[in-house]
Symmetry: C2
Subunit: 308 residues, 2 copies
Amino acid sequence: MEVAAAVDPAPDKAGRELAEVCALDKDTGIVVADNFAAAIRAVQPEAAILTTLLSFKACVPQVEEIIKHGIPVVSTCEEMLCPWLTEPELAQQLDEAAKKQEVAVLGIGVNPGFLMDFLPTIMTGVCQEVKSIKVTRRQDATFRRIPFQQKIGVGLTIREFEAKREQGSLRHVGLTESLHMIAMALGWELEKTEDVISPIIAEREITTGYKTVRPGLAAGVQQIGNGYVNGAPVITLVFKASVGESNPGDTIEIKGTPDITSHIAGGVNGDIATCAITVNAVKSILKAPAGLRMMIDMPAVSFFESTK
Amino acid sequence: MEVAAAVDPAPDKAGRELAEVCALDKDTGIVVADNFAAAIRAVQPEAAILTTLLSFKACVPQVEEIIKHGIPVVSTCEEMLCPWLTEPELAQQLDEAAKKQEVAVLGIGVNPGFLMDFLPTIMTGVCQEVKSIKVTRRQDATFRRIPFQQKIGVGLTIREFEAKREQGSLRHVGLTESLHMIAMALGWELEKTEDVISPIIAEREITTGYKTVRPGLAAGVQQIGNGYVNGAPVITLVFKASVGESNPGDTIEIKGTPDITSHIAGGVNGDIATCAITVNAVKSILKAPAGLRMMIDMPAVSFFESTK
């Protein structure tokens, strides 16, 4: 796989050598274009990777701009993972546009996209019966990039945390979409979903993050998603991210026949993994049926290389 | 999903009520037919599940018999998981026959089919680089059916074990196919594979299996599969099954960027899980492109129900 072109309309990026913008070791021979049509003028890329916004609504026009050239799209847009229940009309519209162009469009990432939704979904494949699914992702944010630490509220007072939560700027986006994708795969109709955010409060001084967190301040966020059937939560997603979080890891607990508990000790680093799965998905999107796809209805994504 | 028909040419099964043959609680209204054409005379099933033999060569005529009626096949045939490198011509022949009939054919199971191949393959999806993969399945055979305990040599003398190994009747079938499927997904060309079987010898008397095993006799089997690139094993599959096996579980270790270690404590019971994944695969085979498919190039298999 080769990078054929790059697009970013931001004035500090457009017009510059890609290697400079991305701090690569050597020049790529690619100048960042300020729009998609200009970028592909000289090349006919086989696929595009779109890593711009988390809102599905905001991403749809960007995807439409790309697929009208007959190019499939892999996007890290969190809400594109499974927009069928949250934005049914817009999802339908994009699906039809993609089918008309005979290309596939996919929303993917490590979370949402893999750890808390796709992986537990395929784990149920060995079950004769599934009563409930619980997924817990505990991350020590110490090892995540600074924008991520800021996003989860590290060092905020509880009042500041609450204010940001009200604005909607402090949250993991995609928990609802993860609930919906699991439920769609299993044939469950959720009567209600909820997504509850609260601060994780430092009990002692924490100095491992990008700034020191004194006791009583927010060390991070806890977010719980529930999907209900017959008044009871059948899918529970627990997302915890804080600096100094103990026992980081990704745990899947399926109650059914048989019960299955799977654990990834230490968890999966979201920054590394999101880049990886996005690039790895290109192989699969080229084989996927046309339309707006989900991870659960297309060929599996895996690492691949052609040189070994 | 509903059972529409049943076929078994064995004289002690053909002609009897399915409920009687399978020890079900109540009658199904289905009489076991002795051949496929007779079984589907009155019904047009959407898919067939074939659970007869472990040899791909032996299963191909059976699959061809079914698909000529335009019916897709999910099979537990171990060697059908990935016959592209072990039986390339026959695989090609079956692939073409399935494409001509516009149906998909799939070999599946929990192992081979999921725990030691599909699951580690999709785990690499979050890796930017993969250097090696090791999968260890440790099973306490105490909780498996008697034919399984016999298959792994429980209670044999070492001489009897060696004799059975030479005959080829004492082994887990599919390790080579698992190696091949992982490698094909990752784009690795294995220059060599090996599959080494040895007895696990009881160190103390074990009374938990279907018969008592005295110290010095075989308590089960250890089988190791290796796939090599550049003279070094890059994929290692360790299959251990014995009565009284300590620390049963399924472990995946990926060395790469990032390293990932995933563990299913206690492991997954193969008898329950094989039935489950075979039935669950029917949903996916109906959506899969025509041809001889592998788990890695078709929509994901998960549990599903239509009533919740």
